[in-house]
C-alpha cells in the first residue's frame, strides 16, 4: 500500500474518520480494513485503547498519524480513523431496498445509510451521477453504518431495474397523486424498493410510470422536505408495515 494522502475519489481506499466509524469498519468489514490511524493526542484515552484492542484482534496494524487525519477531517478535529479498501456488494434480491437517484450531498447519503440500517433496511443503491459513496464525509455521517449494509452504485436506473424485477417500486415524488399513508393502508408487497430523487430537482417525471409513485403528506407551506428527512419518513413508515406484521405473528405464536 502506498503512503497515505488526503482522500480522492480515484483512490482504491478511503477513510472512516472518528472512533465510532472506525470501530464499525473493524466490527463489520474487517477484511477491507488496511490500517487504523491514531492521533498522538488520543494516545492513552479509553477510545484509543478500545480501538487498538479491536484492531489487534482483527490483525490490523495501528499507526500513529497526524497529518493525514487533519487532511481528511477538514475543519473538525479527528483523532482516529481506519483506512479501508472500497467495496461493492450485490443487493439482496428478497429484501427491501432504498435507492437514491442522483444524490448530491454526502451528508444526506450518510444520514440515509444510518437511517436505513436503523430500520432494518440493509440494502442501499445509488444511481450515478451521484456523490461519492466512500467520501469520508459520507462515512462519517453514516456513523459507520456503511460497513453493515450491502451497497451498490449503478450507472442508470434502468440497469438497477433490469436486475431487480421482483421489487415493487415506490418512487417518492412531490407530484405523485397517491399519498403514502393511503398506500400503507393497503397491502405492501415484499420485497419493495423506495426510490428518492436529487435534493434540488427530485425524481424526473418519467418515474411517475415506475411502480406506484407516492408522496409524503406534507403541507404546501414548505417547498419540499430535506432529502434525508423524506427518506427517513419513507423508510420508517414502510418498515413499520412489517414491524407490525412481525408483532402480530409473535402474538399468535407463528
Amino acid at each position: 500500500m502506498p503512503s497515505l494522502s488526503g482522500y480522492s475519489q480515484d483512490l482504491p481506499y478511503s477513510y472512516a474518520p472518528g472512533f465510532f466509524p472506525a470501530m464499525e469498519s473493524l466490527l463489520h468489514r474487517s477484511e477491507c480494513v488496511e490500517r487504523v490511524l491514531l492521533h498522538p493526542k488520543a494516545e492513552g484515552t479509553e477510545g484509543a485503547e478500545k480501538l487498538r484492542a479491536l484492531a489487534d484482534a482483527c490483525h490490523v496494524r495501528v499507526e500513529m498519524a497526524e497529518r493525514v487525519l487533519s487532511r481528511i477531517s477538514g475543519k473538525e478535529n479527528c483523532y482516529a480513523a481506519s483506512v479501508f479498501r472500497k467495496f461493492e456488494d450485490t443487493l439482496h434480491s428478497d429484501r427491501p431496498h432504498v435507492i437514491l437517484h442522483h444524490p448530491s450531498d454526502s451528508g444526506n447519503v450518510g444520514t440515509i445509510l444510518r437511517t436505513a440500517l436503523g430500520f432494518g433496511v440493509e440494502d442501499v443503491g445509488l444511481i450515478r451521477p451521484c456523490v461519492d459513496l466512500f467520501d469520508p464525509r459520507t462515512v462519517r455521517a453514516s456513523m459507520g453504518s456503511l460497513f453493515s449494509l450491502r451497497v451498490h452504485v449503478w450507472d442508470s436506473f434502468e440497469a438497477y431495474q433490469a436486475q431487480y424485477g421482483k421489487h415493487q417500486m415506490y418512487p417518492f415524488m412531490l407530484s405523485a397523486s397517491l399519498p403514502m399513508e393511503e398506500v400503507l393502508e393497503g397491502d405492501v408487497p415484499y420485497p419493495y424498493a423506495l426510490i428518492f430523487g436529487n435534493e434540488g430537482s427530485g425524481l424526473p417525471d418519467s418515474f411517475a410510470s415506475v411502480g406506484r409513485s407516492v408522496r409524503i403528506p406534507s403541507s404546501d407551506r414548505v417547498d419540499s422536505l430535506n432529502l434525508s428527512v423524506a427518506a427517513a419518513i419513507g423508510i420508517y413508515a414502510f418498515s413499520g408495515k412489517f414491524r407490525k406484521n412481525e408483532k402480530v405473528c409473535n402474538k399468535t405464536g407463528q
Copy 2:
C-alpha cells in the same frame, strides 16, 4: 442601521442567505426585514427580479453587495440574502410544540424547523445552551421556514414547562420503555409537545419523569438516529394522528 459585517450572535440582526430563504423572510416577516442584498453577478436573473419585485412591494431597500454575501456564506456561493432583525414570539398555548433541548448543530435545527412547518407544527422552542437560532446556517437549512414559525428560546426546560402546563409532554429517549407506536395506538391528547435532546448525549435521565417518555422503534444495529431524522419521524408520526382525524371528520361531513 450600522454598516453590515459578517454574522455574529451578538448582533441584533442576521441574514437569510439564498433567494428562497430571502423570499420567505419578505413573505412572512417583512416587518423584520431591513434590506435585501444582491450580488452583482445575480443582476438580471429571474431570481433577482422576483426578489427585487417582492422587496419593492414590501418597501424594503435592495442593495448591491458582494463582500458581505461572501462573508456570511462561507464556502458556498451566495448571490442574495435578506438582512432581518431577530425576533421572538410567544408559542401558541393550544397548538403542538417541538422543543429542542441543547441542540448543538445549526443544520439540524434548521432542518427540524423545515420539517415542523412541513407537518403543520408551527411552534418551536429551544432550551439553552444551544446553537444560535438565527445563525445564517440555521436559516439556510430551514429554507426560510423560520419566518413562518413561532419561535422562542428558554434558559431552562423548567422555564418552558412552567409556561405551558397544558401540553402533554413526550420526551424522546433511547432509554424509554414505551415504543412510540404503542403510544400512537392510543389517544394522544392535544396539544402535545415533542421534546428532543442533544445530538451526542440525548436528553438527561431526569426527563424520564416528564410526561410520557417514548422511543422510536429503531434497531440496535445503530447507536442512535441522527437528531433531525428522529425529530422528523416523531413530528410525522404524531401529526399523522390528527391528519387522520381530520380525514375522518371530512368524510363524515363534520
